[in-house]
Amino acid sequence: MIRIKGKAVSPGIVMGRALLYNFEKEVIRAENIGAQSVQREIWRLENAVKKSQAQLKKINLGMQKIMGKDAAFIIETQYLLLKDSHLLDEIRGAIQGKLVKAEWAIKQVEKKYLDIFHSIPDLSFKAKSNDISDVLNRLIANLKKGSPAAAAPQPGQVILVADDITPSEAATLMSNKRLLGLVLNKGGETSHTVILARTLGIPAILDTVNATDSIFSGDTLALDSINGEVIVQPTPALAEDIAARIEKFREYKEQLKNLSQLPELTLDRHQFRLYANIELPFESEIVQSYGAKGIGLFRTEFLYLDSKMSISEEEQCLIYKKIAQNIFPHPLVIRTYDLGRDKSDPAAPRREENPSLGMMAVRLFLKDREPFKIQIKAIMRANTSGNIRILFPMITEIEEIRAIKAIMAEAKKELQRAGAYPRKDVQTGIMLEIPAAVRLIRHLGNDIDFFSVGSNDLIQYLLAVDRNNSDVSYLFSPYHPAFVHILKEIRTEVDRIGKEVTICGEMAGQPIPALMLLGMGFTHFSMNALAIAEIKRVFTQIDYMRLRRIVSQLGRFGSRTEIEAFLRTELEKLYPGLLSGPNT
């Protein structure tokens, strides 16, 4: 039995047989032919094209049936590429001109276009190179005599294990319902494959690095995309356990279905709000189905990094607008680039001895203002529906807010001059993640509309602990008494000036810490969309006043283990079974 960790994509637990998918592209060598064989190679090519077209047409129809026209376009592009006579002419030309086999001619043409697409900085054209490779490799596969279409190797439902898979392969497998789950070595959260898995609710684990080395076809796999884990060949006892968890998860999902319709009220009718954190624009299309009543944190770093820092105001504006419309009338909070530190930021000026105390987020941009201002303008312009808010990370002192405000005023003036400023101002907020900012709430609050607590960073900076360092990560705890104290201080100070505060960060999506926050009087929570249903379940089953009484006693304890134990025991006592969801 082996356990493999990875990044979970859509929540679920499944157990089934592994199918190792060998996507290593065949090595194709240059193979010369005589002039008399040219006709034969062209004939092989034309046959492969026909076969490929028929396959893609079939996949396309299948996709349209389950996902509607829009999603099916992923495959349609490939179909149209194959119908492009110029592409085929080029391959034919290579066969004739260089006297090579069709396989090698296709590889040459592929290389040419990959080079072209890779040199295009524009974000929206990036996926194209994937499509062209995918379609040309299908052609090569179909050149083989009697070769079956890709992705039909074994009957029955399977958990697919692969290095990475292409959109058409994913589409085929997912549309004929043979795919129970997906385990990939690679990441690629923006890939079509992952979008499809998420949309269809197929549990997937990404970024396992080397799952394909430790799993063999036919192995029994338990895939747990709640905890981001794959268990290879579980022992009989564990398999029984997992089967029970699968059943429980099924019941739980049934129960959750009804939850997203419920009002956001505790048993004693205390109102709370649950928002989603998102990283990729397309997530905005699905978070509402998970019960999110808004997006409390849109992390924008990827826009900047993926576009090699060249994303234009126009492109950004379109993306923001689309998300705002998807989530309307609920709010969308856009956090400006939080670069630096661990985020492998190419814009970082130089190697720093102490990156988490160095140039990051707002500090970077107050030094190099241009990309920052472009982003601010894009956000302001996008706010035509009036539900966009802007959030600035890593604020340490009031001077930063003043500098930001000055840039915002400039941006507004420039947009107004161009006639591109919408009627409504965006509301402005700052992150509370450096302890110093918490102490300054009443001063910082003068110039801004709302606060957002980045609990992960606040714990890290308060306790001087890196949670990714396994030697010290035990110290990283939302129950540390000093942290509990600082949370109370935030609540009191923000109340004093009558502003709003949202908790972002992992603890907002963990039942016991979230209940502790609710009991302290926090009402706005933003979390990974997948956690929303569970938090809503526990919040709608408790009484706020009773929770408050429990939480008000936390000051008695000077130790994190005592605080955690106390909360757990008291909650169990009052609400037996409350904490028995699959996430707790």
């Binding site: 149209l80 006579s85 110029h86 592409l87 276009y113 697409f117 295009i120 524009d122 929206s124 379109l318």
Partner: protein, 89 residues
Amino acid sequence: MIEKTQLIHNKLGLHARAAAKLSHLANLYASDIYLIYNEDKVNAKSLLGILTLAASVGNEIILQASGGDEQEAIEAISDLFNRKFDEES
């Protein structure tokens, strides 16, 4: 041979769907039709060719056609650009 300078109005530029419409339309005409953008010249009847331009909104592209129906071809293609490829209302 005739040429026309055309502004790209649609937000997404010549992305896959728009490029597919454009190449489909170009294929209805007998004339040779080319697109010239940033010193690159591609055959308007090739979807792949159009995609390699990565032409984006707000930029100008030159339409070039030569053949018996060059006038009609240029007008029809220009009209498609001006209708924003029917993708925005």
